[in-house]
Amino acid sequence: MFNLIRKDMLVVRFYYLFIVLYAIFFGFIMNNEASTILVGALSAIMLVMFSVSLETKSKSILFIGSLPVKRKQIVQAKYAVVIVFLIIGLFMSLLVHLVSLYVLDNPVEWTWMQASLTTGIVLLFASLFFPVYYWLGDRAAQVVSLLAIFLAVSVIVGMSGVMSEMTFGLPLDTGSPAAVLSVIVGGTLLLFVISYGLSQSLFRKKDMAG
């Protein structure tokens, strides 16, 4: 499975540049309460989408199907790489925060709450995207992914108003924010696990089509 994760990371290597551009645009140019989440979540979501669309475009599932891997591992790797891309997204948002804090005189907020919201949005996206991808194929997944991104951006922008009223930067062990954080991450993680099981069951019976 490690090689499949590595494959997805290598395949999108030119697209890491887009992530830098997102960071510049959403982090520094469009600097607001939602910047951290936009940089983190969009980076991860776009990397997932790039890797899937490159696979679809080249019909590479047929190449993957010929590799010495089990079917189960193909789905496992897709979900594992979401976590890898999420970490990259979170790292980028932290980087934006640090650069804005120490280099620029316009600090972008980075809190555990924002990190947990980023995590929740990415896990929610993947939980919706992959079952549709394995069930109805690439075209439906493209539609779903566009809707999901629109939804994600709407949620982020909508949340930015709410977030500005919430207390950011509280330590993890302070009552309510820690509970909210746990619910967001725990809930979406549960959805992610259910989605993984569903994708496995769909892909088990599916022909790899070119």
Partner: protein, 293 residues
């Protein structure tokens, strides 16, 4: 496994799509030989290959490769298979070298020296982008990858389609070299039967989703007969013995799957020849309704 063993065994393998059905297929493919999988376009050759490799899920039946069951032992089986498809399914935006970096770690027996030698032989540059390669060059690249991890079984889906005659001949020579080792086997699907006339040891013929035969080339040519005679010899009984007929204003040409019977019925009044694989494919696909010229 020795030379007499089967590299692939299929038992009642079937698959249905909305517009196509692969009837249950039971056959075995011998180790150490080149087996040609022939049939007209849409006959089910690619479906069969996808079922072999676990890319398609069969409705029923069992696949064993190297004596091991698919898909339970999929990973270890595929370590020993080199697959060449009719089209390139590599990531087109990557260079050859980058694609190799993606592919190589999957194979424990990846041979970097062999890879470089094959790239040189085919005049492929590691920095060339895959999307910039011609169809022939992409086919060469597929071969480079398939032959760089010491595969014991090469499965090739229409590898000669769209290739120029020079490279076609070179490819067939390469396959003949590859098979020199007794432990290696090749399954080669094509609708261009002249390629198989040249190199195949066994032929599996698939038509309309049905396996017509899977035998050695010698057995096939001993069994089938091409009859050329005057139309006056055609009556209901003689027509019934022929698989396919092509009639002209002066005579007919027909294929029989029983040479002895054909000689008994037509001998002395007709020319009885050994058919080519193309003749067998043509008459079987066309059937008795045949062509009238």
């Amino acid at each position: 496994m020795n030379q007499d063993e089967n590299v692939i065994e299929l038992d009642g393998l079937s698959k249905s799509y909305s517009r196509f059905k692969l009837e249950p297929i039971t056959m075995s493919i011998k180790q150490g030989y080149i087996t040609g999988l022939v049939g007209p376009n849409g006959a089910g050759k690619s479906t069969l290959i996808k079922l072999l490799l676990g890319m398609a899920v069969p409705d029923r039946g069992e696949v064993r490769i190297f004596g091991r069951r698919m898909p339970e032992r999929e990973q270890e089986i595929k370590e020993r298979i080199g697959y060449v498809s009719d089209e390139s399914h590599y990531y087109e935006h990557l260079s050859i070298g980058a694609m190799k970096n993606v592919l190589a770690p999957f194979y424990s027996c990846w041979d970097e020296q062999q890879y470089r030698q094959l790239l040189d032989r085919f005049e492929l540059h590691p920095k060339a982008r895959i999307r910039s390669l011609s169809k022939g060059m992409k086919m060469k690249l597929s071969l480079v990858f398939a032959l760089s991890h010491h595969a014991d079984l090469l499965i090739m889906d229409e590898p000669t389609a769209g290739l120029d005659p020079v490279f076609r001949r070179e490819l067939l020579d390469m396959l003949a070299d590859f098979i020199q080792e007794d432990t290696r086997s090749i399954v080669f699907s094509t609708h261009v039967t002249t390629d198989l006339d040249r190199i195949a040891d066994y032929i599996a013929f698939v038509d309309k989703g049905r396996l017509v035969f899977c035998d050695s080339k010698e057995e096939i040519f001993e069994r089938y007969a091409l009859i050329k005679a005057d139309r006056s010899l055609l009556d209901r009984d003689t027509r019934g013995t022929l698989i396919g007929i092509r009639e002209t204003s002066v005579g007919f040409e027909g294929l029989s799957a029983n040479r002895e019977e054909a000689e008994r019925l037509f001998g002395g009044f007709a020319r009885i020849e050994i058919p080519t694989l193309e003749d067998i494919m043509f008459y079987t696909a066309k059937g008795r309704s045949g062509a009238r010229v």
